[in-house]
Symmetry: C2
Subunit: 464 residues, 2 copies
C-alpha cells in the first residue's frame, strides 16, 4: 500500500487550486425522500468505502497533528483519494496552523514507586532538560485549589485528581464535567505558583492509556509543564501520597511550540443541479492528536464525509443544492481550518452556506442529530424524524454542531452535529488506543448513511 500511495502522491501539484473533474454523468434519479434514503442506505451498507479508506489513513499515515509531516501526508493522500471518485470539484484551501511537538523526551515517575504512563498536554512547555523532581500536592477540584491558595500550592507540582463521572448517559457530559481540569487546570494552578501540573486523565476507561488534549494559559500567566496520567497511574500516585505525603514526582518533557506551518483544508463537492449557489457542508477534521491513529477522532468523521458524496453519486442521485465535503485541518489545537473556512463563508458573495453537518464524536452507531432551534422548529422536521427512525435515529435535540463548523455560524449557516452512541468514545479519546481496530465497519457506515440522508434531505428541501 505504501508504495502505491507514495507514487500517487508524487503527481499532485501541491498548491491551492480548484479543479473541475470529468464526473461520471449517470442520469439523475427522481425519488421521494423515503426512496432516496433507502437507495443511500443500500449503497453505503453494501458498497461503502469509508471503512477501507479509514484503514489506509490510520495504518499508512497514522496520527497527524497539525503541522506534522503526517498531517501533510494526510492532506496529499486525501486529495488524491477523493479525486479518484470524480466529483465535480476537488481543491485545497490554505490554512496556517500552529506546530506543537511532543519532542523526544517524555518521562514521568512516582519516586520510589515507579514509572507512569504519562502524556504531555498539547500546548505544554518543556521541563528543564534534567527534569523536575518535587513534592506533589493532590487537589480534588477547583474549589479545593482555591482553598489551598498560594500557601498550599507555591513551589509544588499540583496533581488534579478529579475523576471522570460514570453516572452520565452521554459520555460527553462527563467530558464537560472533567474536561476543564485539562483545559485550564495548569493555568489556574500556575496563578498560585505551581511549578508543574499533572492531571488524572479525562477518560472514562480505567486502564493504562493517558489521554492528552489541549491546555491553555491566559495572557500574563506563566506557562508551566503539564501532563496527564493514565487513570490507573493516577490511582497509583494517589495511593503513594496517602502512604507518604512527601512522595516526590519526577517529570521530563521536551515539548515545544515551533513556527507556524502552511497546511490545507481538503474540499470536494457535488454541484447542485437547481440551486448550485446554496451550499451544504459536511465534514470532520483531518488532523488528530499525535498519539494512536486518530481513528475515531476524527478519521472516522472525515471518511464518512467523503462517503456522503460517494454514496450519493453512486446511487445515481443528483442533489438540487451543492453538497461540499470538507476535511478541516487543526481542530485539535487551534481550529485554524474551521476559522479560515468560516471567514470565507462569511465573506463570499458568490454562494450562501445554508447548513453544515459535522461528524466529530466517533464512528459509532448513530442515534441522532443536534441542531439549532430554528432547524428544529421547521414543520418539515417531523417528517424527517419519522423517516430517520427506521434507521435507529431518534434524537433530534438542540445542541452543538461541531468545532470546525462553529465559525460558520456568523455566515448564518445552520449547524448540525451527528450524535453517535457515546459509550466508548471517552475510553479512547486522545489516547494511543484510538486505533483503526476500535472502529466497527457497520457502525461507521450506519453513521455515514444517515449523514448522507441528512445532506440529501436539506439539498432537496432547503432551509427556508
Amino acid at each position: 500500500m505504501r508504495l502505491r500511495l507514495l507514487a500517487a502522491l508524487a503527481c499532485i501539484t501541491f498548491t491551492a487550486f480548484q479543479q473541475t473533474a470529468n464526473a461520471q454523468t449517470a442520469p439523475a434519479k427522481t425519488l421521494d425522500d423515503k426512496a432516496a434514503f433507502n437507495a443511500i442506505f443500500d449503497e453505503v451498507m453494501n458498497n461503502g468505502e469509508a471503512y477501507d479508506n479509514l484503514e489506509v489513513l490510520c495504518k499508512d499515515i497514522g496520527h497527524r497533528l497539525a503541522g506534522s509531516p503526517q498531517a501533510d501526508m494526510a492532506v496529499r493522500w486525501s486529495y488524491d483519494m477523493i479525486k479518484k471518485y470524480g466529483f465535480d470539484s476537488v481543491w485545497l484551501q490554505p490554512v496556517t496552523v500552529p506546530h506543537w511537538v511532543r519532542g523526544e523526551q517524555e518521562y514521568g515517575e512516582i519516586m520510589n514507586v515507579g514509572q507512569v504512563n504519562m502524556l504531555a498536554l498539547g500546548g505544554s512547555v518543556a521541563t528543564p532538560i534534567e527534569g523536575i523532581i518535587d513534592n506533589v500536592i493532590e487537589v480534588r477540584d477547583f474549589k479545593h485549589l482555591e482553598e489551598l491558595g498560594t500557601a498550599g500550592i507555591k513551589g509544588k507540582i499540583v496533581f488534579f485528581n478529579y475523576p471522570f463521572p460514570q453516572n452520565v448517559v452521554n459520555s460527553f457530559e462527563g467530558y464537560g464535567d472533567a474536561g476543564p481540569y485539562r483545559w485550564h487546570g495548569a493555568n489556574d494552578a500556575s496563578k498560585y505558583g505551581a511549578i508543574a501540573v499533572v492531571i488524572r486523565s479525562v477518560g472514562s476507561s480505567h486502564d493504562d492509556f493517558a489521554h492528552t488534549g489541549s491546555t491553555h494559559f491566559d495572557d500574563g500567566v506563566k506557562k508551566i509543564p503539564c501532563a496527564a496520567l493514565s487513570n490507573i497511574d493516577a490511582d497509583m500516585l494517589h495511593n503513594a501520597l496517602q502512604k507518604d505525603p512527601s512522595t516526590k514526582f519526577k517529570m521530563i518533557m521536551s515539548c515545544a511550540m515551533l513556527d507556524s506551518v502552511q497546511s490545507y483544508n481538503v474540499i470536494a463537492e457535488i454541484k447542485g443541479s437547481t440551486f448550485p449557489k446554496e451550499v451544504i457542508v459536511v465534514g470532520g477534521h483531518l488532523d488528530s492528536w499525535d498519539v494512536g491513529e486518530g481513528a475515531h477522532d476524527d478519521g472516522a468523521g472525515c471518511m464518512q464525509s467523503v462517503e456522503v458524496l460517494r454514496a450519493i453519486q453512486a446511487a445515481g442521485l443528483k442533489p438540487k443544492r451543492t453538497i461540499r465535503c470538507i476535511l478541516f485541518m487543526n481542530e485539535e489545537n487551534g481550529n485554524m481550518g474551521g476559522k479560515t473556512y468560516g471567514k470565507y463563508a462569511s465573506a463570499t458573495k458568490d454562494e450562501k452556506h445554508i447548513a453544515a453537518l459535522e461528524s466529530d464524536a466517533g464512528g459509532f452507531s448513530p442515534r441522532g442529530f443536534s441542531l439549532d432551534s430554528a432547524m428544529l422548529a421547521r414543520p418539515e422536521m417531523e417528517q424527517l424524524k419519522e423517516l430517520m427512525l427506521k434507521y435507529g435515529v431518534y434524537s433530534f435535540e438542540e445542541g452543538h454542531g461541531g468545532t470546525d463548523i462553529g465559525p460558520m455560524e456568523k455566515a448564518g449557516t445552520h449547524l448540525i452535529g451527528l450524535v453517535p452512541d457515546s459509550q466508548r468514545y471517552m475510553d479512547l479519546h486522545h489516547t494511543n488506543n484510538d486505533v483503526f481496530e476500535q472502529v466497527n465497519k457497520r457502525e461507521l457506515h450506519m453513521g455515514a448513511s444517515v449523514m448522507a440522508m441528512m445532506c440529501w434531505w436539506i439539498s432537496e428541501h432547503g432551509v427556508k
Copy 2:
C-alpha cells in the same frame, strides 16, 4: 483467581435446594419511578459489578457448552458468586441437557489451495475417521438447491454460499435471512443425497472467524457432516470453484452426541414486600457455544441479570413483587433450561409469573425493549417510555422476548426482550472472537441499568 474460585466451589453442596440467606436488611426507600430509576442508574454506573463478574466467567471458566465440564463449573461458580450478595434466596433447578462434543479432529481443506477456518455446526455427525474428500457443488440459495435436485446434488459436498445481507438496520434481520442455511441447509441437502455440507458463516464480518451454531435434521433424514467456513474462506472456496469446478474439498470431523447430562438453572431472588407470589423473571443463558468465551452470547445477559438484583438491593430499594434472576442452561442446543423452568411456571399454583425479561442479544448499548401487544397497549407504558428516553431507550416494539423465557408464555407470562444496539453482535456471534475484550464496561452496565429499571417498574405497577 483460579485458586480462590476452586476453594470456594468446594464448599457448595451440589444438589437442588433452596436456601434463605441472611440478606442485608437496609430500610426500604419509598421513591417515585423517576427517583428510583436515577438511584438504579447511579448504582449500576458507579458501582456495577457485571463487568468484573463477566471477566471471571470468561477468563477463569471460558466457553461452556451444555454438558461440558466448563458448564458445570459455570453453574458452581455462579451459584457461589450470587450467594455472596446475600439475596433472599439462591437455588439450583435440575435440568437434563444434551451433550454434543466437537471432538479432537476438525480439519477443512480446499484441495490444492489450502486449509480453511472451519467449525462443525452443533449437532453435526462425524465424518469417517479418514475424512471425506469429494467434489463440491456451490449452491446460491434454497431455490437453487431445488433446481439442482438429486441429479445435481447426489454424492457431492454441498457448499451453501448465501451471503449475510449488510443492508439491514438491525443485524438480527440478517440473521433471520441467512440463518436458515445453518439451521436446515444440511437437512435439505441430505434429502437430495448430499454427502456433507459446508456453509458460508452466518456472520456480518468479513474475517477469518467461522460461526458455529445449531443445525438440525428432520426425523428420517440421514444425518450428514456439516460445518461453517469463515467468510474469507467461503470466498476462497468460491474462487477456487470458479477457476476449477472439479476442485475437491476435504473435511475431517470427529464430533459426536454423547449421553445426556444432569445440569442446572441457577436461580436467585429478592422477595416482593407486598405481592411476594407475583414473580418477575430476569435472565440470560449461562451456556455458550464451545468456542470463544461466550462473552456477549450470553455471559453478558447473565451477569446483567445478577446485577439487576445487586443494584436494586444496593440502592436500598425493596420491590413490591418478587424479582427472580435465572441463569438458564442449554439455550444453544436444546433449550432444556428454558423448557424445564417453563413447565414449572405453568404447573405451580404457589406463584404467578407475571413477566419475564431476557437479555440475549449482547452486552451493547441498550436501545429498547421488545414486548407483547398487551404490554404495549397498557396506558402506563407512555409514562415508562418517557422516563426511559433519558437513558437512550426509545424503541418499544412488539417482538420476541427470548428463547429461554419463551416456554413461559404458556404460563401467561408477559415476555420482554432487551434490545441493544445490534451492529457488532453478528460479527462475533458463535465465534472464537466472542471474548471478554469485545465487551465495553459502560455499554454492559447501561444495559443492566435499564433492565433493572424495567424490573423495578413492573414490580411497582404489576401487569394488570
